[in-house]
């Protein structure tokens, strides 16, 4: 194994965690050596940084491997690249990389050679790999989807846009997603080479109160859905007197069609861990858990690897970077249930119990995991905290809306030309995201509604698309921001049927603890079934609304009170569509059983 950036450059380096850690270890990796001067050691670093960019032999092929690309055959592409390298005998490094979040170009590869512009190839077939790589190496990039920058040396270079020239890339503000699709998610080295863990270094130089103040001034609000100011949570836990405290990162992304957290962890697990260490330092916690959803196997694997590497280099464990503060992280993979994403249900599950929500108050900040004060934050929130500490609150607060700063990763899917994960400043209008970034609906299709925030979010009619993506603004229209999901719905989808499908999800995912959610969702589904089959009556709408209000007010946790929101918001905006089903016994989109001849079986 050759020398890596994380290793000692020469025997003079005295970084030896945990007994004798060097506080300047991280800065030293890229700016170093700091404790002694040696051109030899400086050269060693420069050479390695160069190697990380272009590979050991000056040519590197990066294959994007994340759930989104693997689903469309990136594994085959990866094998094809390896096969090509073996057969051609070229000195090429093959590396893996996370995903940009541009799901419409999956599977993609990036080919880099010194002196040529790094080129990204979209929708790669395993058969095309040899053609792509050999034509690139001969200096022709005309087939590329985009290039990273221009060098003026390749053929067809000016026919291909650079990433920054692409509208959907330029309009994004990538703060937490800065490294997504750029670094190898399994190598801490590349993260550190891009300025990773500098946030942690800055944080432990300050007092916890200063860090909390910075988070407050940055106007960071929880990205999990409720939008609770993060600094209040942290301060509350910090002020608790307890010998044991915990930090829990919530990566149970249960909503269907939410994939931004998964992308973040799979492409850049380190930033989450960095944010957790900062949260631990600020609140005085010594133990962190990352609660990963059952279906996120790859994410859990990468997180575990990242935790191991951080431990190895003294970023986790006793006496982190010589600050005297100890912190360790454990990755916990759950059994996979929608309710597990609720902050108290998740604590129950870590304790080994059934994942039902707990009575609140007491809130987790005072009595959380095993009765100890606990910070429960979404992984994206923690990543934002790391960014704030690294970049400084003043820069961060200028991005975003008045009451909540920064950016949000949104997962856009449905009838759009460019589905994917986009990171936009909070307060960007939904229209900009759908039309500007995601490319709007395909040719000849008109959008009817935008589903915001997943099943527990709500539907916005296409006429209200100018609303900014902001916690308070969306609530005014009766929808919740949730975990940043936007689903574009065109005219060929029936709203009532969609709502019914969401309700099927809630019925099967309700934990069954409280009456309104357990029975109420079931009754609502029955009514929606009735309407879809053309057996609904006028009074069913009022019944739905009444049930919805009950669920909203009386449910035990936020998942139960979120369940009726799709129904309530569609009755508000799409009443006509319900009435067409009820009065005319007709489905406008022609997808419900009401508009078909149905064979009925008696009995």
């Amino acid at each position: 194994m050759s020398w890596t950036l994380m290793d000692k450059c020469c025997p003079k380096c005295w970084h030896n965690p945990p007994s004798n850690p060097c506080p300047k270890y991280i800065e030293c990796r890229i700016k170093g050596p700091l404790c002694h001067d040696s051109s030899e050691c400086r050269k060693l670093r420069a050479r390695r940084l160069n190697e990380l960019m272009f590979g050991r032999h000056g040519i590197k092929v990066r294959v994007a491997l994340a759930s989104c690309t693997l689903a469309v055959g990136a594994a085959d592409v990866y094998y094809a690249v390896q096969e090509f390298v073996r057969e051609s005998g070229l000195a090429v490094d093959v590396d893996i990389v996370g995903c940009h979040g541009l799901d419409f170009i999956d599977p993609w590869i990036e080919v880099v050679k010194k002196g040529l512009p790094p080129a990204i190839y979209a929708n790669v077939n395993p058969e095309e790999v040899s053609n792509i790589v050999s034509s690139y190496l001969s200096g022709d990039v005309s087939k590329a989807f985009a290039i990273k920058y221009r060098t003026g040396t390749a053929k067809g270079e000016f026919l291909v846009p650079t990433l920054d020239e692409l509208e959907f890339w330029r309009k994004q503000v990538r703060l937490v997603g800065r490294n997504c699709g750029i670094i190898n998610p399994e190598s801490i080295e590349e993260y550190v080479a891009r300025g990773g863990y500098l946030g942690l270094v800055r944080a432990i130089k300050k007092s916890p109160d200063e860090v909390i103040e910075e988070i407050r001034l940055a106007k960071l609000r929880g990205r999990g859905g409720a939008g609770f100011p993060t600094w209040i949570k942290w301060k509350a836990v910090k002020d608790q007197v307890s010998d044991v405290k915990y930090v829990v990162a919530n990566a149970e992304e249960g909503d269907p069609s939410a994939f931004s957290n998964r992308l973040l962890i799979e492409s850049d697990p380190f930033i989450v861990i960095e944010g957790m260490i900062i949260a631990g330092y600020v609140t005085g916690a010594n133990k962190g858990y990352i609660f990963v959803g059952a279906e996120f196997d790859l994410a859990a694997e990468r997180l575990k690897k990242a935790v191991e590497e951080a431990r190895k280099y003294g970023l986790l464990g006793d006496n982190v970077l010589g600050s005297g503060f100890s912190f360790d992280v454990e990755v916990f993979q759950d059994a996979g249930r929608y309710t597990s994403g609720e902050e108290t249900a998740l604590l129950e599950e870590i304790e080994g119990k059934r994942s039902s929500p707990r009575v609140r108050p007491p809130y987790p900040v005072s009595r959380g995991l095993w009765g100890k004060p606990t910070v429960v934050n979404n992984v994206e929130t923690l990543a934002h905290a790391a960014v704030i500490v690294r970049e400084g609150w003043d820069r961060y607060a200028t991005i975003g809306a008045e009451k909540s700063g920064g950016t949000k990763m949104v997962s856009v899917s449905g009838s759009v030309r460019r589905p994917g994960v986009y990171e936009v400043p909070i307060g960007t209008s939904v229209k900009t995201i759908i039309d500007g970034l995601a490319g709007g609906p395909p040719e000849g299709v008109k959008l009817k509604a935008i589903e915001v925030g997943g099943p527990a979010g709500g539907f916005l009619p296409a006429s209200e698309m100018d609303v900014p993506l902001d916690y308070d603004e969306l609530l005014k229209l009766g929808v919740a921001m949730g975990s940043g999901i936007l689903i574009a719905i065109d005219e060929h989808k029936c709203i009532v049927d969609l709502v019914r499908q969401f309700m099927v999800f809630f019925v099967s995912e309700s934990c069954g603890k409280c009456v309104p959610c357990r029975v109420g969702t079931r009754e609502m589904l029955e009514i929606l079934n009735r309407i879809c089959c053309g057996e609904g009556g006028q009074e069913d709408l009022e019944l739905l609304q009444e049930l919805g209000e009950t669920l909203k007010n009386a449910s035990f946790c936020a998942l139960g009170s979120g369940a009726p929101i799709p129904v309530l918001s569609t009755i508000r905006y799409f009443r006509e569509e319900y009435l067409t089903h009820i009065r005319e016994k007709r489905c406008p989109a022609d997808t419900c059983p009401v508009s078909r001849e149905v064979v009925r079986y008696e009995g």
Binding site: V359, E523, E549, T550, A554
Partner: protein, 218 residues
């Protein structure tokens, strides 16, 4: 040792131990409350959602789990709380197999008390009838309309050995009617006779047509 805290329940001020929950304060204030705390094992941990009370900011919280604090002000019988409680109990009853004529709970049933209080349809007179299933008038061959009639009268007639004539109107839930009519048939009553008796008080009730429809199916 900290002193007691003052809580205002529907305008009445009470002093309670700072460690208690809202429900204790409400009980101390002498306000009747709907709750399933009797069935503690089933509805442990504030899950029945029937003791919801309103805070001044309009938020509904479960009284059985909400800790008291000094100066806390709650209202227990606002329109909103009653509407939500009524709806919740209705949901609970929807999955309760109602066969009160065969149930041993009799006068001890919490559901019937709450249902009458919240003006909720769905529980027959049998639930309040003190007669043990073995002493039931029906088993003696007396045509009592208890299984079909809405509870709320404390079952005065059956209790004093008279039969129920259904003066409070029918239970308007089809599944109960089906079960009740099956019960009549099991005991050897003529369904036509049952309907005839029901017509005395219910001839103008819209649900009678439905009952007649059901009799054809049974």
């Amino acid at each position: 040792m900290r002193g007691n805290v003052r809580v205002r329940v529907d305008g009445t001020e009470v002093e309670v131990d700072p460690k208690s929950v809202l429900l204790d304060a409400i009980k101390k204030a002498g306000v009747a409350m709907h709750s399933f705390c009797q069935a503690g094992e089933i509805y442990r941990g504030a899950s029945c959602r029937l003791c919801l009370v309103e805070l001044p900011n309009g938020k509904l919280v479960p009284a059985c789990a909400f800790p008291v604090s000094d100066g806390l002000e709650v209202r227990t019988r606002t329109a909103k709380t009653l509407r939500v409680r009524r709806s919740t109990l209705e949901l609970l009853l929807a999955y309760h197999r109602i066969e009160c004529w065969a149930c041993m709970r009799k006068g001890d049933c919490v559901l019937v008390k709450m249902a009458t209080d919240l003006r909720l349809d769905g529980i027959p007179v049998c639930a309040e009838c003190p007669l043990h299933p073995e002493e039931c008038l029906l088993s003696k061959g007396i045509l009592c309309l208890g299984p079909l009639t809405l509870a709320g009268c404390d079952a005065e007639c059956p209790a004093t050995s008279g039969r129920c004539w259904g003066c409070r109107g029918p239970v308007t839930r089809e599944d109960i009617v089906v079960r009740a009519l099956k019960r009549y048939m099991e005991l050897g009553f003529n369904i036509g006779e049952v309907v005839e008796t029901a017509e005395i008080f219910w001839s103008a009730h819209p649900f009678l047509e439905k009952i007649k429809l059901v009799t054809r199916g049974v």
